[in-house]
Amino acid sequence: MPSAIPALPFYLLVTAIIGGALMTIFSRNVVHAAFWLLEAMVAVSGLFLLLSAEFLALVQLLVYAGAVAVLTLFVIMLTLRRREDAIRPLDTSVAAAGLAAVFGIVTAIAVGGFSPLPARMPAAAPGIAQFGGELFTRWALPFEVASVVLLIALVGAVWWSGEDEDQ
């Protein structure tokens, strides 16, 4: 028997995500924007739970709401000389708005054109144990490559940000 996602939690999370994204983009204070981004990331993690992707919801919380948000806040603090610098003029761009609108309209048409999109999902969803099993069998090589990517990114980030001020 196929199961379905109830509308109420979905639309609550949608409100949180879209609201957080709007506040991230349209708040004039950079620090406030970082905190609104954190809120949107937590809401996205809730959406992953609705889609029975428990492991990814956890990773989303740890990585985006934890590490990325803290890193962003640290860089904001390190690049502000005065407290007033956090308040920025609201950058607007008609061209960017037009491009985003065109993208949204084209995607809406495309999504509307997909003939039957399922409203119900299969009831059986594999759990976190099967996710781990698959990760270390079928996806073992991408997993190892990902770890190398992370290592190189770590070394590169330390190298770039720790550089001395010799010209």
């Binding site: 991230t24 983009i25 390190l78 995607t107 990902a146 980030a157 001020e165």
Partner: protein, 105 residues
């Protein structure tokens, strides 16, 4: 069960979030804000991937694995991007992308 949501709603949410991130990434003048907008866009992609995986082929979990690897790459990207912003700030004392124009002849 009264009202339910299907795959279409998830895809529309993903598209709206991606469009918002696209607007932010293109219109912002602060390098940190641009990186934050890019994070919004990667999250939109992850929502679409996981929703498709759950609704169409939940047994294979392909979308979940792709989302996990996207998370890895986007974390590497944000770490390197912020390190680059810090390095640029040390040299130029600014994070405004309009004023980082040393390659301009």
């Amino acid at each position: 069960m009264s009202a339910v949501v299907g795959l279409r709603e998830f895809l529309v949410l993903s598209a709206v979030l991606f469009a918002l991130g696209l607007y932010g990434a293109l219109s912002k003048k602060s390098a940190i804000m641009i990186l934050m907008a890019i994070e919004l866009m990667t999250n939109a992609v992850n929502i679409a991937l996981i929703a498709m995986s759950r609704f169409l082929t939940p047994g294979l979990m392909t979308g979940q694995f792709f989302a996990a690897f996207i998370m890895v790459v986007s974390t590497a990207e944000i770490g390197l991007g912020l390190a680059l912003v810090l390095a640029l700030y040390r040299r130029t004392r600014t994070v405004e992308v309009d004023r980082i124009d040393r390659l301009k002849g």
